[in-house]
């Protein structure tokens, strides 16, 4: 096994593309090292991307925010501008692991680990976040939900490295929120999770909405029907009941040790109502 710390993203791409065996990208290592120790993977090459210029910082751009791929989640929470603009994304990122893990883990790692229960992903999908990917044939930018394709699997090809997550500037009267259901309050994996992102008009009517559910399908689900229910309405009781129904119906969960499929469908509806109410309040709705 070789360990290399390239100083540029192009060097990282060249190293990985040119490696004969399996290559692993190391940022926070909170998934990679666990998988290596468990004997699930034995990479021939580890490429530590933390020394690459700009990958450990959050930049405010004319379009919004660019979060470097090696930025620990703790740094997201400490960034007041990001927390003000995207509180739902930040609260989701802050739920990954303990204080110790927060100092290392990244949202790009969370995305590429491709767990259906990843905490930051529903919030990023709801936020319409994009992944900036550098690879052998140049750069491409894709919606984050295009990255995971199934448990543990991504659409990235060999040599491709995500260098940043991009978030838009916020229109006025916008809010986002993320909630998950876990038996414990800390250090646990979501049974079901939901992220919502809303913009409302001056009368409090929802003008755009995105709602994503986690841990209820092989990948995080963007529930298009939820947007149809919400747009043009206020989150009154009848609207929220219709929202819960379309969200429960969109789920394709499995039974496992954390919950049954039937239970997950029901909880998905409940969480959808709660995150929409929370996002609505953050957007300034009453």
């Amino acid at each position: 096994m070789r360990y290399i710390r390239p100083l540029s993203i192009d060097d990282a791409v060249t190293l990985i593309e040119g490696s004969a065996g399996t290559a692993a990208i190391l940022a926070g290592g909170s998934d990679l090292l666990v998988r290596m120790k468990g004997g699930f993977i034995e990479p021939d090459l580890i490429v530590d991307i933390k020394s690459i210029d700009g990958l450990r910082e959050i930049r405010e751009t004319p379009e919004g925010f660019s979060i470097g791929a090696a930025t620990p989640c703790a740094v997201l929470r400490e960034n007041t501008a990001l927390t003000k603009a995207w509180p739902g994304v930040v609260e989701a990122a802050s739920l990954i692991g303990s204080k110790q893990v927060q100092g290392r883990c990244t949202i790009v790692g969370n995305l590429c680990n491709a767990s259906p229960a990843a905490d930051s992903v529903p919030a990023l999908v709801a936020a319409n976040a994009r992944a900036s990917i550098v690879g052998p044939s140049g750069r491409r930018v894709v919606p984050v939900q295009a990255v995971p394709v199934g448990p543990g699997k991504t659409s990235l090809v060999k040599g491709e490295v995500i260098d940043a997550i991009l978030l838009d500037k916020r229109p006025p009267r916008s809010g986002d929120a993320y909630q998950r259901f876990t038996p414990r309050t800390e250090m646990d994996i979501a049974v079901v999770s939901a992220g919502a992102n809303l913009t409302i008009d001056e009368q409090g009517v929802i003008v755009s909405a995105r709602l994503a559910l986690g841990a209820v399908a092989p990948t995080v689900l963007l529930v298009e029907e939820a947007a149809n229910v919400l747009v043009g309405s206020k989150p009154d009781e009848a609207t929220l009941e219709r929202l819960a129904t379309v969200c429960s119906d969109a789920c394709r969960p499995i039974d496992d040790k954390r919950g049954t499929a039937a239970y997950r469908k029901k909880v998905a509806g409940v969480l959808a109502k709660r995150v929409v109410a929370a996002a609505y309040a953050r957007a300034g709705g009453k």
Binding site: Y3, M36, K99, G103, R104
Partner: protein, 159 residues
């Protein structure tokens, strides 16, 4: 041994070591450098017994590769006391009997130190959330929380 030469700072001292690319920082601290304060409980970042501070961030040293420490600042439990003078947290852990078997204690002390650096006057809830990444199977946590509260108050008084 053919290995990676790493130059780092541990508890204020310049340290150089050779390591394999897949060795963890915890393994190097314990097995190559004789710093056995950090413990391996789970080895998967769940228990916090191997907690250290790396460039002012609390991390699990079992989830850091040893070559990653190049050019960085590592603080371990061995650097907490000044000679024979215990850190207020260490002193209060003894006074409150906030330990039994002691395996989790170095990790708790590092996590509590990090917490009090960032928040010198935490509420009980903030202490419990701040230490949620550290598991103790003996004490039931109450004595640990009291010791941290008492140490925080002592440190605020001294400041």
């Amino acid at each position: 041994m053919a290995g990676i030469a790493v130059s780092t700072t541990i508890n204020g001292d310049k340290v150089e070591y050779l390591c394999h690319p897949d060795e963890t920082l915890l393994e190097v601290l314990r097995d190559r450098l004789g710093l056995t304060g950090a413990k391996e409980g789970c080895g998967t970042g769940d228990c916090g017994a191997c907690s250290i501070i790396l460039d002012d961030r609390l991390v699990c040293s079992c989830l850091v590769l040893a070559p990653e420490a190049e050019g960085r600042r590592v603080e371990t439990i061995e650097g907490m006391a000044h000679g024979d003078k215990l850190h207020p947290l260490q002193q209060k852990f003894i006074e409150h009997a906030a330990l039994q078997c002691g395996v989790c204690t170095p990790g708790f002390l590092m996590a509590a130190k990090d917490l009090l650096t960032k928040n010198p006057n935490p509420t009980e809830e903030e202490i419990r959330f701040g230490l949620a990444g550290n598991l103790c199977r003996c004490t039931g946590y109450d004595k640990i929380v009291r010791a941290v509260q008492d140490a925080a108050s002592m440190m605020r008084g001294a400041a």
